[in-house]
């Protein structure tokens, strides 16, 4: 049994006027509630993590040689923004890749146009739809040579698998587990996956992912996106871009 309490304690009835003796307490509780909500709102917002330096930009155009595997890339030969020889990752608008448009243009001189995203070493162009975004350069005297891949040895790296577009700044933040489903959707849509290493490899912090044979690796990495993982594979340099040809069987959550 419980005690009956203080006889003089005011008793609140919802449909009646609040007891005078209870009003100061209720006013205090109301004020505390308002202060609690305001305070928690401020702290929760002010302590949000830095989404990083990734950012988008206005439309850019570049000319270069398109390669299709493992994901569409452009070796720049002419651009106002990008230096000659620079390698651009290519994706479509939103959560779409450009594989369908790029497959017939492998090794050809093309003009690309779209919105850039950039973060550190990573440069990506989100191509406009249709021929405005990707078109063959007609009448070019010759297609420039694409640099041969340079092997940099076998590496075991720790880092996060991201979609290149969101990591690059299309979404801020574009990393982490809260963003995982979004990253998976981007990758499934054809956006190139990148590996953001915790240690620099040949001076670079991000590497384009490929499978051991140099082909696309999206399906094999989906369960390990957006978390810190260890993975082993061959690193090779293609122009100024590092490609990490991983063995998906070696993927494991980093301890």
């Amino acid at each position: 049994m419980n005690d009956a309490g203080d006889r003089s304690e005011p008793f609140f009835i919802g449909w009646a006027k609040a007891p005078t003796g209870l009003r100061p307490f209720l006013i205090g509780v109301g004020l505390c509630l308002v202060v609690l909500f305001g305070g928690v709102g401020f702290i929760a917002a002010a302590t949000q993590a830095d989404p990083g330096s990734g950012r988008g930009g206005r439309g850019e155009t570049a000319i270069g040689v398109l390669t299709y595997d493992p994901y569409p890339l452009l070796y720049v030969t002419e651009s106002e923004r990008y230096p000659t020889g620079h390698t651009l990752l290519l994706s479509g608008n939103a959560k779409f890749g450009v594989q369908d448009r790029a497959s017939a243009l492998d090794g050809r001189l093309v003009q690309v146009s779209g919105g850039p995203v950039a973060r550190g070493d990573l440069d990506m162009l989100r191509l406009r739809n249709g021929p405005d975004g990707l078109s063959l350069v007609e009448g070019a005297p010759a297609t420039p040579e694409v640099p041969e891949p340079v092997p940099l040895g076998r590496w075991r790296l720790t880092g996060e698998i991201c979609d290149g577009q969101c990591y690059g700044g299309a979404m801020r933040p574009g990393t982490g587990l809260a963003h995982r489903a979004c990253a998976n959707l981007c990758l499934i849509g054809g956006v190139p996956p990148v590996f953001v290493s915790t240690q620099a490899v040949a001076g670079e912090e991000f590497l384009l992912l490929a499978d051991a044979e140099g082909g696309p690796v999206t399906d094999a990495v989906l369960d390990h996106v957006a978390m810190l993982v260890d993975v082993e594979g061959e690193v090779e340099r293609r122009g100024d871009l590092l490609v990490f040809r991983i063995d998906p069987a070696s993927l494991q959550v980093a301890p």
Partner: protein, 347 residues
């Protein structure tokens, strides 16, 4: 109390309650979006849609935590009972805030892809065998669905239609929903938070809710030790006029013994409306008055005064000296039991 169903039985107390609630929510969202985010140490601004989903999501979680704290707070200190009175509106508003969070998530993280957003929500991440990387969105969906059901049935029509025990059982789903929301945050946003402040706020809210429930549970009446048909309730002199003592007569049943002037009467401790604790109420205008929503019953027969029709079970009482005993077996709701006169020395 009402003899007909209306969308909301407004009264001045509800206006004040909802005004404070709305002010708190609006302030939270405004401070989060306009002041707190501006003060965040970031290299590049966080996407507006992501800030909004975080604002509404964290606000909904705070609201849910406060809602769950009100019950045990009111049990531990009766001055908090007014917060319980209009908790339905708190719940409905929490659902609206949580739904806004979900709409922002769906329209940002799960939009702009070749897959339909609702399909993407369930298929983009299917790593159910992992703890880290678990599709925490489904936990949020589960919590939101429960909140939707509870919001939709937060009305006396549904209470009457489903019966108070079933309605009450349905609304206890708020606890699994809270557990799902906790896991949703813990496996999602918390994993990306680099500043410990959010973890401290989140953990503090969860621990406060848990500690309050534990404290309230420890204060619950003990199980009677006797197998006798009569259960000892206490000393008649310990019952102030117009108040009650509560006695547990079975694992699931409690009786409230009220003193009404010079007599004693016992009724079920569970109000017919929402199973509120009648024994924590008072006798007002000659009727036992529930502390939750003010439903009233006559002490001698457990019937609400006309034109109301609610009834609660009644119990036989007897005195052994000054000691009050309650018979375990309840009478059907609304059965009249002659009030027991108080001992001379108490009266």
């Amino acid at each position: 109390m009402s003899v007909k169903y209306v969308p909301v039985q407004w009264n001045p107390n509800k206006y004040v309650y909802d005004a404070v609630l709305l002010a708190s929510v609006v302030l939270y969202i405004f401070v989060f979006l306009e002041l707190g985010t501006a003060a965040a140490d970031v290299t590049q601004p966080i996407n507006g849609a992501i800030v909004r989903m975080r604002a509404f999501g964290s606000c909904a979680f705070l609201m849910l935590s406060v809602i769950l704290a009100i019950g045990p707070l009111a049990r531990l200190d009766r001055r908090f009972l007014p917060l319980l009175y209009n908790r339905r509106h708190f719940g409905v508003m929490t659902f609206a805030v949580a739904l806004t969070h979900a709409v922002y998530v769906l329209g940002w993280y799960f939009a702009f892809s070749p897959t339909d957003p609702l399909v993407a929500l369930l298929t983009a991440n299917t790593a159910y065998g992992q703890v880290l990387g678990f599709p925490f969105e489904v936990l949020g969906i589960a919590a939101l669905l429960v909140l939707a059901i509870l919001a939709a049935t937060s009305h006396d029509f549904w209470l009457s239609f489903l019966s108070p025990p079933l309605w009450k059982a349905l609304h206890l789903l708020i606890y699994p929903a809270y557990a799902a929301a906790v896991a949703h945050v813990a496996l999602g946003y918390l994993q990306d938070a680099t500043n410990p402040a959010f973890a401290l706020l989140f953990g503090g809210a969860v621990l406060t809710v848990g500690a309050l429930h534990l404290a309230a549970w420890l204060r619950a009446p003990a199980e009677p030790t006797t197998a006798d048909d009569w259960v000892m309730a206490g000393d008649a002199g310990d019952i102030p006029d117009g108040r009650a003592i509560v006695v547990r007569i079975s694992p699931t049943e409690r009786a409230a013994v009220f003193r009404n002037g010079r007599t004693l009467s016992a009724v079920s401790n569970a109000c017919a409306h929402q199973n509120g604790p009648l024994g924590e109420g008072r006798i007002v205008y000659g009727c036992i008055t529930c502390p939750w929503h003010g439903f009233q019953y006559r002490p001698e027969d457990g019937c609400s005064p006309a034109p109301f029709t609610e009834k609660v079970p009644t119990y036989d009482l007897k005195l052994e000296g000054r000691t009050v005993l309650v018979r375990r077996t309840a009478h059907p709701p609304g059965t009249r039991v002659e009030p027991t006169p108080l001992p001379e020395d108490v009266a």
